[in-house]
């Protein structure tokens, strides 16, 4: 088993954070993991992305060039990363901010209105967790419990009070994607 995930969006959308959560969760489950961020001026106001590898084997290249999954939170990220997904891979599109459809038909595509769901939940900041919830539901790279266990490790103990709303966001994302999966079958 090896999942190579690219997560991309604007700086501030929490793409680095959900990458780290996935990585932490993988570590908790004794898998081999690696998290590699883009860094430098492009992060200041531009797009940010990170590559996460979760594997039962040693992690080779930490650079995700042929992603098994891409999670894109804004349009520039869709344009940049859709072509990098392997055939049969998965693409999660934040349809709240991206009004265009994927071009490829050799991958599974899921449209998650992450910002709208987050808004309904009363906290715009959890949009990243909504789309992460959808991804976890489909690909099951790690357990939701492991993500929650890693939460305070990534965000600090002070943020523990935010666990319930983040858990809800994960569940909502899973719920939305389940409906889409049912529709496509």
């Amino acid at each position: 088993m090896e999942e190579r995930i690219t997560i991309a969006g604007f700086g501030g959308q929490g793409v680095m954070a959900i990458g780290q959560l996935l990585t932490y969760a993988g570590m908790i489950e004794d898998k081999n993991v690696s998290w590699l961020p883009s860094y430098g001026p492009e992060m200041r106001g531009g797009t940010a992305n990170c590559g996460v590898t979760i594997s039962s084997e040693d992690v080779g290249s930490p650079v995700v060039v042929d992603a098994s999954t891409a999670i894109v939170m804004n349009k520039p990220s869709l344009d940049k990363f859709e072509p990098t997904i392997v055939e049969g891979g998965k693409l999660f599109i934040n349809s709240s901010l991206i009004d265009q459809k994927a071009e490829r038909d050799d991958i599974e595509v899921y449209y998650i209105p992450a910002n709208e769901i987050a808004e309904e939940l009363g906290n715009m900041k959890v949009a990243n967790m909504v789309i992460l919830g959808a991804y976890l539901e489909v690909a099951k790279p790690v357990k939701v419990e492991s993500i929650l266990e890693g939460f305070t490790k990534v965000f600090g103990e002070k943020k523990a009070k935010l666990i319930p709303i983040n858990k809800k966001a994960l569940e909502k994302g899973a719920e939305v994607v389940r409906k889409q999966m049912a529709a496509t079958v």
């Binding site: 780290q20 690696s34 080779g60 930490p62 650079v63």
Partner: protein
Amino acid sequence: MAKVLMKGNEAIGAAAMEAGCKYFFGYPITPQSELPEYMSRELPKAGGIFLQAESELAAINMVYGAAGSGVRVMTSSSSPGISLKQEGISYIAGAELPCLIVNIMRGGPGLGSIQPSQTDYFQATRGGGNGDYRLVVLAPANVQELVDLIIEGFDIADQYRNPVMILGDGMIGQMMEPVEFKAPKKRELPEKDWATTGTGGKRKPNIINSLYLQPEDLEEHNIRLQQKYNDIKKNEIKVESYNLEEADVVIAAYGTTSRIAKTAISQLEKEGYKVGLIRPITLWPYPYDEFEKINDNCKGILTVEMNSGQMLDDVKIAVKGKYPVYFHSRTGGMIPTPNEIIEKVKKIYGGEI
């Protein structure tokens, strides 16, 4: 101790503190600034000192002073900053002081870029400063190995009274991986009775020095340094290798690039190709002898680097013309992909290059 997920740059700091290093002198530069930031947060809590110097020149000279005073001390920078430190590194090597220097390499020459590169291989292994000196150069490929080599690096430095350089790149500095802090193998470390600590009225003055105005004296000093370097060559070479007995092609790569090579090798194996790997962990001393283990029928050695061919020279020295040596390079902050390497190996197989 349980595993923790750490960013490479922060793991360096944690490992150094684990090794008993309480002093850090540095100057900010991307992509290693998380390390001085970490040290500025954590060292004071442990009763240590973090000091941001006015320049890299000053930082390495503060290290020179602190190392001369007998403590475990380190500095870090990235390529252009390491160039500025060469003066001090040469003095530290000449005065035979132990310390740890971290270079998280970025693209060059000049200001270059801030993206990963391996373009300082020559500078690190040949001696970027003046004079006949050597650094022990360690090239970790993952964050766990980075931590292990930092901790052991301080011991190596103390054992031989020699500066040790950790040569990483922007990728390993920025990436997060699980790490565990383990004690290194036990070494007999000499007492630092040469350090400037004040005579205390109990001994003759100690002098930290690299100046020998009499040619006879300087020659003798250099001969002694070379004897020490020979001891290091004998005792400290580290290398990972596999499939050398049956490989048709052997890839030579170090640091993060070796991981990309490994991904390519496992893909090639699935397709029926027999590919080996030599991954030097010490870039100096270089594991030349490892190349003797390659089988006679090997079609060639493919060196993969994020520079225009620097370790390539050492590979050529190692194979002594016995096999053709090929090269795959990405530079400027571009990172080679497994597919590029796979294609190159297939071309070597097919006799196309």
